[in-house]
Symmetry: C2
Amino acid sequence: MALFTSSPSQGASELPRTSSPILHTAVTIDDTFWGPRIQAVREQTLPIMYEQMKKAGYFDADQRGWHKGMQPIPYVFWESDITKWLEAASFSLATHPDPKLEEMVDAAIAFITSLQQPDGYLNLWFTEVEPERRLTNLRDLHELYCAGHLIEAAVAHFQSTGKRTLLDPVCRYADYIDSIFGREEGKRRGYDGHEEIELALIKLYHATGEERYLRLSHYFIEERGQQPHYFDAEAKARGEDPTNFWARSYEYNQSHQPIREQLKVVGHSVRDMYLLSAVADLARELSDPSLRETCERLWQDLVSTRLYVTGGIGSSKDNEGFTSDYDLPNLQAYAETCAAIGLVLWNHRLLQLDADGRYADLLERSLYNGVLSGISQDGTSFFYVNPLESKGTHHRRGWYNCACCPPNIARLFASLGQYIYGVNDTDLLVHLYIQGETSCTIAGQPLKVRQETRYPWDGDIRITLDPAEPTEFGLNLRIPGWCKAARISVNGEEVDLADLVVKGYAHIVRQWQAGDEVVLHLDMPVEQVYAHPAVKEDAGCVALQRGPLVYCIEGADNPVPLHELSIAANASFTSTFEPELFGGSVVLQGEASALSTADWDGTLYRTTPPEQTVQPLTAIPYYAWDNREPGEMRVWIRSGYVNR
Amino acid sequence: MALFTSSPSQGASELPRTSSPILHTAVTIDDTFWGPRIQAVREQTLPIMYEQMKKAGYFDADQRGWHKGMQPIPYVFWESDITKWLEAASFSLATHPDPKLEEMVDAAIAFITSLQQPDGYLNLWFTEVEPERRLTNLRDLHELYCAGHLIEAAVAHFQSTGKRTLLDPVCRYADYIDSIFGREEGKRRGYDGHEEIELALIKLYHATGEERYLRLSHYFIEERGQQPHYFDAEAKARGEDPTNFWARSYEYNQSHQPIREQLKVVGHSVRDMYLLSAVADLARELSDPSLRETCERLWQDLVSTRLYVTGGIGSSKDNEGFTSDYDLPNLQAYAETCAAIGLVLWNHRLLQLDADGRYADLLERSLYNGVLSGISQDGTSFFYVNPLESKGTHHRRGWYNCACCPPNIARLFASLGQYIYGVNDTDLLVHLYIQGETSCTIAGQPLKVRQETRYPWDGDIRITLDPAEPTEFGLNLRIPGWCKAARISVNGEEVDLADLVVKGYAHIVRQWQAGDEVVLHLDMPVEQVYAHPAVKEDAGCVALQRGPLVYCIEGADNPVPLHELSIAANASFTSTFEPELFGGSVVLQGEASALSTADWDGTLYRTTPPEQTVQPLTAIPYYAWDNREPGEMRVWIRSGYVNR
């Protein structure tokens, strides 16, 4: 059974069914899995990050005399750490008011807006450090990328607090940018080397209703990769030879071709995900089938050739991004946390564009594995790269000079509520199984929804619906791609799923009454997962998966060198919930064969095969690795499936 | 059956049996395997190398204005390319007189000796480029290393041609060095960062009978690693902080400890092999059991933890040397050609110290695999590193800026005759099976020996003995460690080997008559070889070996990605001699399982194992790889031995 497929889902011949997310402000999460994680972000990550930024002088650039080349490195885009933190903190304030945090937010906003120039320009680096280089190197210097994160922060702050203290200055800045860039006479035909402003402008359009921002986003997307190439012209204007681009190819920033012509996901993977998030948004906003097909084409490319089983993407450190088909090294995997987050962002938008469970499957895979591994159990340390194998030398760190990942996780978790549900006039969609409540309006009627589950530890989900009046609408429960057997009952009565599942969702239409109860059961056995044979590093290996969670083996549980272990093709595993481990976790236990070194004394090579012994094997969720003593880790375990 | 073992050979309780090599000047090689290779070195490698050196300005340093930092890099030890070439050319002149080559040799010697200083000092770099730095940085600048290769060249030239044109100036230089270094009052207690002069001085002692050179070598060996550390003092004298040593540890040049205390082969592997070659020589010259035990201890360490199956050594590019036990990566293997040559040199000396077949086994393994891979079929291009896996991006090159390997192979092949036989008062030892003739004196009688064989293509060897008078002596034929079944007949009559084999040699004592014929048959089936389970990269894999040859699979013969292939534990292979391939070569043919990609369209991960198809598999000798179109190569092939 394929975990991802590029072939259309069942029912895909239907027209795309669009929906909108129920915003996190309308969602309460009281989930035993996610609750403590969101709490850790709120109580640990956000205040610690603020202190880190303060300590690093983020809020007093002028006093500190920031300058190019100073140590430790102030990255040209350091302000985006502040604005991503602002966005995360704003999200958190919406669901958990906190005067102390609000004070920090207000102070950060006061600092940022104090640096706005009379013409509306608002960028910290190019005001404090290198004003003479304003808008001269969009290719490399993240100027509009920073604008994008500033805009996202402003929108989140406005939507969460109702305050316009950041939104208004940011609109002035967006207006300034709009006055500079575009295809109109007298404007520059530029765009940023690191995509981000494109998706942010669509948020700003929604927050303000100002269509100019939508058009500006659309312009940036359409202009990217057109000839004559803007980055060529810009480099020449700086007196540089454009062919001396340090990244060698414009594939690095996805400006090698106009987006509608691109056939492969390429280059820096965070950039590509942010680009494609905006493309998905625009496809929906503009009802543009060609942009939708572009998304679909690149999605198929990604899931069929360039995706780690953990939902991580970007194999190489060199370009922090994509390399070639099936090149998915484990020990050297880059799989940046931010790229997995970008994959969540893109697939969340694809789900709104077309409610196809494939997108939710991928969102979930990244969220529960490649993203979640990026933060420690206690919310205080972070992975930048997320390898699928370690010799025990990779460890989460409290901060990075390039600190993009920690605030990126924080803003995702603080707004996690918005990823759970989708809604439109006729349908409620449940994308993720996370315990809590939400309210929305459907078919003109207010509706309350309560979800109860211990997911991902088991596959039982109870959903209680409370419409204000009996109302006919479709309840759509996602049947994950990893699930081979599901059951649903409505008010205790089993329903036949056979004809109900369309594009990965069980679609139950009826007149719903207050107190109606739907119980979903998803079978969640331990699966051995095989990679396409072209993935060299995974040949002869299997990964273990249970429900949405990919597992790994760690030295802490398994005392022999991990490469000496192999799993039989018919091996069975028990799943046990251990309440004390990682704040509660299902571990897998079974048997492996271990190559024996007992009779090799002094011998390095011989013509008789190694003896094998039976060895207990314990696997833990991949996301939880490196939360104990340092040691080896492997996701892909040698297997006996070859030459059975 | 172990291919190498650190346990003592059968019969090892006996006293070591020393012997001397029969020099290549007394050996004629007319072997179908080695003949063309030695001819290629003579007719291609040597003249091409001379032209390369001429082109690079090696012979007119003064005219060219060599200076530090010029491009292309003139390495500080560039003269060692000339002297290794001189040594190789001299060896060749001994067996194949060639007036044109002799003219080149004379010209090179005239050039070198013209730069000798009045005090006897003779180094090209520190005369032409940086005279002010003479003998100020032995740690890094290869000054006595160059002296060593100069001495080896002088000895080879003298022994091959009888001329003293290089030997006499070199003796003056050796006398100068002896006047500077030593433990006597007023001398410096230094030694070189790159060992080489130590083994060269022993050769000079043999060539001249001057014991001072033996004592100087002994001093260098004993002084190395003593406290206070010479390289510390030397660095301080240069005004440098000794702890800032770029290689970080004195393990790099084996001066971290006195040699008698060393427990592991460490650091730069060529240096270690040259060091240990001198240690083995001294153990024999001085009948020093502690130096002999040092060799044995380090040999056991190497063969049980730090040796590639190809006889290559040195896993890492970082230090061009040893890393940690069982760290033997295949794709990233360094396995420098010169290091495998160094292993041949050391084991050749160990064989003289104690005729134990284990040393000859290792010598043979390196020679036929890790060394031979370093030179192309036609003798015109060279590998510096010899990986055991390639994506098709490794290729031999005609020359290197650091051109140590090409002349090193040339001098080994041009003197190959000396590695075949050993002799002492009572015994003739046949270490290698190479067709040709030799003469020696044994038990006071002249003896002619003829060896006929197609080795390594088959295991039949016919040896004809022609003593001038009937003479009693022991004929010792090596029974290689890889051979599980051997037969010997003397004058057509089979002899029972059971009690005859001592330490890897069939020991046949009798009164030999002119025309006596001994026929040896060595079984040579295809073997699957397994690595110690701790070798992570080889877990679940096998290598193929037949006789002394390790095989590999190449893309040129096998059209599927090589990692998709696996061999069954009971797979059988046919051996076929293909006369047109690589100048004649046995190829192995059998069947492999290939992971099928047929039903994976668009799928990257799934829960059903890949289908497998039967695929013919062709393996070629490892040494012959990269002689056809570029493509993948693997020595270690996935295997079905696990979870049978």
